[in-house]
Symmetry: D2
Subunit: 281 residues, 4 copies
């Protein structure tokens, strides 16, 4: 597996260049970013220099987020398609083959009809991305409070997400598996080993507080190893099915961190070393 950093969990990170440096210095191989940050990176350094910088630092781009807003009106969705294309182009130039979005577990739209719209829109996004050899990762979101944060329950179960992906019907769509959402949906080792590795587009890593699982909040995450998630089970399940893709840290918190990005990246590196120490070879 390929260890990665995102800026979520690092406090104030100036730009992609700094994220790459922090990743490189702390034992990571890859970073999550956005099309926008990639474009700024190229604007600052030029494409060749930007790519050389990554090469020197031994860092790859694991994933960009899906920038197009597929949860609102048709008009908003349409507007976003141009940026999606730009994102796909810049990502492809950097050899990035993943683009990810999360699926909230409730919605103010009528749920069945929103499923129709979401299927149509994500199918189109997937097709555009496919042209650039990019996979689309869909993240199911587990925390219980979010299941009632909007009027109608939507989808949060891994198997339901897999069935949805089948109905979307594009071969480059798969799961973003986040340890937090696996934990808050009662995920097991067997749930992961029931997958084949190519159903997983991307993996996020972070930990949960020692609370009743129903009370765990989405934006109250801990560094891997600081909480109660069984990473021995989570990571070994990934090893056992032969998953060889990225595993990227993403820590969402209510309050901004007080530590510097430098210290937080160091802490992240140590956290990864710790939780990965238990995996089989």
């Amino acid at each position: 597996m390929i260890k990665g950093l995102s800026s979520a969990g690092l406090g104030d990170v100036k730009n992609l260049e700094e994220l790459i440096l922090l990743a490189s210095k702390n034992g990571f191989d890859t970073v999550d970013t956005s099309g926008k940050d990639l474009r700024n990176f190229v604007k600052d350094k030029g494409l060749t220099e930007a790519k050389n910088f990554l090469k020197e630092k031994n860092i790859t781009i694991s994933s960009i987020n899906l920038s197009v807003e597929w949860r609102e009106t048709d008009e908003v969705f349409r507007e976003g398609l141009s940026v999606l294309l730009e994102d796909a182009k810049i990502a492809a130039k950097f050899g990035c083959t993943r683009c990810c979005t999360y699926v909230l577990p409730s919605t103010d739209y009528p749920a069945a009809y929103f499923m129709v719209l979401a299927t149509k829109r994500l199918r189109l996004c997937a097709q555009v991305l496919k042209e650039f050899d990019i996979q689309l990762g869909l993240e199911f979101v587990g925390p219980h409070h979010l299941r009632v944060a909007w009027e109608n329950p939507f989808i949060w179960d891994m198997q339901e997400m897999i069935d949805w992906i089948e109905v979307i019907g594009e071969l480059n769509v798969g799961l973003l598996l986040d340890s937090y959402h696996w934990y808050t949906t009662g995920g097991t080792y067997e749930d992961i080993t029931s997958l084949n590795p190519t159903q997983i587009v991307h993996v996020h890593l972070n930990d949960a507080k020692d609370l009743p699982v129903e009370q765990v909040l989405d934006n109250d995450r801990l560094f891997p190893g600081d909480g109660v998630i069984n990473f021995n089970s989570f990571l070994n399940a990934l090893v056992d099915i032969g998953y060889q893709g990225p595993v990227v840290q993403e820590i969402l918190t209510k309050e901004p961190f007080k530590e510097s990005a430098h210290d937080l990246a160091k802490k992240s590196g140590e956290a990864f070393t710790k939780v990965f120490s238990s995996i089989k070879n």
Copy 2:
């Protein structure tokens, strides 16, 4: 348009042969039936004789119902596929090009996930039917009490149904437009003229009692012209877009009829004559 009868509204109709006779004697051109009734018809008379009988009586088969149960478990759905194939085969032999099912406006399943399953299953049904040149008509169901008859609201709006049909993504899928559901969803002349005729696979005709629309019950229907539905608007909208397919009576009632099938068919013929008298030429 092609006027048709179904057994719903005729009380005790012995079999398809009797339905055909009743249709023929009362000014109808077509009948709705089922794969099962077609098979029994062939069992009784032989295929050639059965087809000759229809020819003599100047009656065609407009539609069969979708027999496969797509609203339950995967296992039940799978079981139904064999009968679907048999139905498609026998329907094709009779030149029948429509197969219809209704979509209830609420469900005990989680709505978003049920939409995933329903999309997957109806897509497969559509593909099987397509091999036999049969269209699949999906009927949206309007009565308000049914929107809360099961735990979660599903879909009952014509436009939402059209968007769903697009996501199902098979070109032989369209609407079954029932005057009752048009009325109970507040349908207008413009709603129908916004369609192109090939989006309509089939039409049902029946009338509603003079009650507040929210109180109209699904199984409390009247003969066309006996109630408050504006057939002038409904039928002329179909004329104006060039719809040339069948319009078939379907009267669902709480209590069985007291009149004989003979009398009810006569009444049906008169009802059709009445409501069709107002349409443009």
Copy 3:
């Protein structure tokens, strides 16, 4: 039906504004153009003024051509997607609901594999266009010399095109029916009346020389009524199935015209009056 002009057949037409004027003065209701010409039109006049100009002249935009090159490499196709999006956006602003491309009857690619690529690419184009409520019209191309102009035969038959459209699987895809290609593929009145009108996205009108049909060249077309095509049959078939969309002139010739655009547009108007005089009401 809505009569229309394109610049093909008018010699030197300066820009879209002139095309609109020529159409307006000679009894036409609509014009075919391109996304690029629409953008230039807006650049010259501003969007509001451009739309007002069309309104004043009573002219609509019937169709733009599909600018993305879907017949070459993946790279070229990808490059074209941004312009496709721009085209769709500008077309939607003008209420244009059609985008068309032609399918050559032979190819230097291996035919079966090219069918795979073409299906994938046109499916994506259709989905992008659908977001802007635009249909994609695919034109089958009949002249016999083009069937051997490249190494491998591809597709030129109307029914084969219809089956392909079904496999592309997007509901906004249909035929561009050109009288020249209908004629050169031996098309009949019945071939057209076997269609439902919504299978036809767009119609082109032009005439063929009195030669053995195998010798008719693609770029040797005549004004409607000057040749041997049976427009009585072609247009009445369209009337009989209820086609109400645009019918746009497109005259491809080997040599540039000697007449002025003014004279050629006048001739076009007279040609349309003549061939349309025979159609039923």
Copy 4:
């Protein structure tokens, strides 16, 4: 990987029961068969007894062949759908999750149009199989003489097959990778390692004579290890990408074998032991 036998290469095998016995006695774990043979097996022994027999002998059912004829007329295809359903049902009862068909590299149909029909039909087969949790494996066929055995070249390249599978658009469709076809299409270690393991539904194993590759005939195959195919490369590539599915022997020959099934199965077991001895652990 799971080693398997099919009856191709064993001469006279009476029935599935005998095939299972031969597999069991010679170190195999699985067998390829057909829906028909499974039904006969159940007819002979009853379902419970048949399943117990497999369990006792430690043999699973790896794959059935796709019985529906998808290369002929629509009518023939339609006729086959009932048997496909029966096949899927019986296969599912035995826990068999694969159904495979081969794709000939040339065809008497026009190639582009045949691609349209084949896509439509295999998509439907895949959807039916999916309902029973069965994958559809498509086998590209390499021998050069077959590329000109029918009028028009079709598809024989692995990458083209993969692109086609994407266009079919069902997530349960993948490759049947046969060492013979890999060899005769100039396949390399890298061609296989460019795949992810879930793109491979099934693997066939057999060897080729020491002839110029253009002269190798489809029905002139050798036991694994008796010819010139580099199984070290082929099998290690499968190991390196983590393929854990079945690898089943299939030897097609011009003349019937002279040896008994018993002897041929023994020879098969030894051949597998030999070629598998070189793979990494």
